[in-house]
C-alpha cells in the first residue's frame, strides 16, 4: 500500500475520532443558555404562565415585557407560535383559551413609544 495512502487513512481516522469525541463524547457544554434556546414545549409553558398572569392582570405591556425574555420576535408572534404548538400537542382547552386570550390581546395592543423591554 502506498505510503501516502496510509498517511491519508490515518488522517481521516484521526478526523473521524475527533468528530466523535467533539460531538458525542465531550460536546461543547452550554450551561448559561438564553430562553430563546428553550425547547418548544418549555417555551410554550412559559407563554402559558404569562397568559395565566395576564388573565388576572389584564396588562398587555407587562405580558409583552415578560415575553420579550423569549427572544427578539414580536410578543404576538411568540404567543402565536405557542398557540400553534399547544394546539398540536393537545393542551387542555382551558389552557388554550388562556393563550388565545393573550394572543388576541397582543395582536391588537400597540406599545407606547419609549417603553423599554428587558
Amino acid at each position: 500500500m502506498p505510503r501516502w495512502l496510509i498517511t491519508f487513512i490515518a488522517l481521516a481516522l484521526g478526523i473521524a475520532l475527533g468528530l466523535v469525541y467533539g460531538w458525542v463524547i465531550d460536546p461543547v457544554q452550554y450551561t448559561d443558555v438564553t430562553p430563546d434556546a428553550l425547547r418548544i414545549d418549555y417555551r410554550t409553558d412559559y407563554v402559558l404562565m404569562v397568559a395565566e398572569a395576564y388573565h388576572a392582570e389584564q396588562d398587555p405591556a407587562l405580558a409583552s415585557r415578560r415575553l420579550a425574555v423569549l427572544g427578539s420576535q414580536p410578543p404576538a408572534v411568540i404567543t402565536s407560535e405557542a398557540e400553534d404548538y399547544a394546539r398540536q400537542a393537545g393542551y387542555p382547552g382551558d389552557d388554550l383559551t388562556l393563550i388565545q386570550e393573550l394572543s388576541v390581546a397582543l395582536q391588537t395592543w400597540q406599545p407606547v413609544p419609549g417603553t423599554s423591554l428587558p
Binding site: R3, I6, T7, F8, A10, L11, A12, L13, G14, I15, A16, L17, G18, L19, V20, Y21, G22, W23, P27, V28, Y30, T31, D32, V33, T34, P35, A37, L38, R39, I40, D41, Y42, T44, D45, Y46, L48, M49, V50, E52, A53, H55, A56, E57, R66, V69, Y85, A86, A89, G90, Y91, P92, D94, D95, P118
Partner: protein, 288 residues
C-alpha cells in the same frame, strides 16, 4: 529505521486529523443548543422564569403546577431560591408587586398559604417521567407524584399522558384584603443571641395565620424604609425584621393603614456582670 519513521508519520497524521476534527466540532460547528431545558438557563433568566411562575401562581393559585414548574429549574430548595430572589429584587428596586408575588410563592411552598383543594386529574401514565409532548403534560406527570392528586393508574393505553382537565384559576389570598391591621403586641426583647437593635415584626391575619408579602413602612426623623414579610420563611411567613440604630426613634406601620407603633427605640439591656447591650423590640400587627 525507515519503518520507524513511517510509524511516526502515521501517528502524527492521526493526531493532526484528531486535532482537525476537534477544531471542527468545538469551534467551527459546535453542537447547537436549541432544545435547552430551563435548568440550563443563565441565572438572570432563571429569575425571569421564577417571576413568571410566581405571577401565574398569583393568578391561578395552583400551587402544584407552580411546584412542578419550579422543579424544572433544578433549584435544590425552590422556596429558598424564591426568597433569595425576592431579596435581590428588593435590593435592585424591582416592581413591588412582582416582589410580593415571588415572596408569596416562597411562603406558599413552605405552607404559609393554603393551596387550592386537590383536584381530580385523569391521567394514564403511572410514571412521573417528563415527556416531550408538552410541558403541561410534564406538569401533570410531576403532579402525579404528589400525594394530594388523584391519579388513575389503571389506564395505560397510550404512552403519553394527556390532560383532560385543568384546575381553573382561583385567586390567591392577598395580604391586603380585610380590615386594617391593629397593633396587638409591642415587647422588649433582651436576648444576647440576637443581633443588637433587632426590630422583629410579625403580621397575622384575622384567622391568626401569618401573612407573607405584607408591606411595612418604617420611618424615623430623616428616613423611611419599606420592608416585606415572608422573605425569611424559616422564621415565619409573616415575619420581617430591621436593624435599629441606637438613640433613633422609629414609627412602624402597615402600608395598608391601621394602627402604627410609635416611639420605638432600641432598649438597653443588662447582661450578666452588669454589662449592657442593645436589645430589640418585637411588634405584632393583626387584623381584627
Amino acid at each position: 529505521m525507515k519503518t520507524k519513521g513511517f510509524a511516526w508519520g502515521w501517528i502524527i497524521a492521526l493526531i493532526l486529523g484528531f486535532g482537525l476534527g476537534l477544531a471542527y466540532t468545538w469551534v467551527l460547528a459546535p453542537v447547537k443548543y436549541v432544545d435547552a431545558e430551563p435548568m440550563a438557563l443563565r441565572d438572570n433568566f432563571k429569575d425571569h422564569f421564577r417571576s413568571a411562575i410566581a405571577a401565574a401562581f398569583a393568578s391561578t393559585g395552583d400551587l402544584e403546577r407552580a411546584r412542578a414548574r419550579l422543579s424544572l429549574l433544578g433549584d435544590p430548595d425552590p422556596a429558598q431560591a424564591l426568597a433569595a430572589q425576592a431579596q435581590r429584587m428588593l435590593a435592585t428596586g424591582d416592581d413591588l408587586e412582582t416582589v410580593q408575588q415571588v415572596a408569596m410563592l416562597a411562603s406558599a411552598l413552605q405552607g404559609g398559604i393554603a393551596a387550592n383543594p386537590p383536584f381530580e386529574m385523569p391521567t394514564n401514565s403511572p410514571e412521573p417521567e417528563p415527556t416531550e409532548q408538552t410541558v403541561a403534560s410534564e406538569t401533570s406527570t410531576s403532579e402525579a407524584s404528589q400525594p394530594t392528586i388523584v391519579v388513575d393508574l389503571t389506564s395505560t393505553s397510550t404512552p403519553l399522558p394527556v390532560l383532560t382537565s385543568t384546575p381553573r384559576p382561583t385567586h390567591t389570598p392577598t395580604p391586603t384584603l380585610g380590615a386594617p391591621y391593629q397593633l396587638v403586641g409591642q415587647d422588649t426583647v433582651c436576648d444576647v443571641e440576637l443581633a443588637e437593635g433587632l426590630l422583629q415584626i410579625v403580621v397575622i391575619n384575622a384567622t391568626r395565620r401569618q401573612v407573607p408579602g405584607a408591606e411595612i413602612i418604617i420611618t424615623w426623623n430623616n428616613g423611611e424604609e419599606h420592608i416585606f414579610t415572608g422573605l425569611k420563611p424559616e422564621l415565619g411567613h409573616g415575619y420581617a425584621d430591621f436593624l435599629m440604630t441606637p438613640d433613633v426613634t422609629y414609627s412602624i406601620r402597615m402600608a395598608d393603614g391601621g394602627t402604627p407603633a410609635s416611639d420605638i427605640t432600641a432598649p438597653t439591656c443588662t447582661a450578666t456582670g452588669d454589662s449592657t447591650y442593645l436589645g430589640g423590640v418585637q411588634i405584632t400587627f393583626q387584623q381584627p
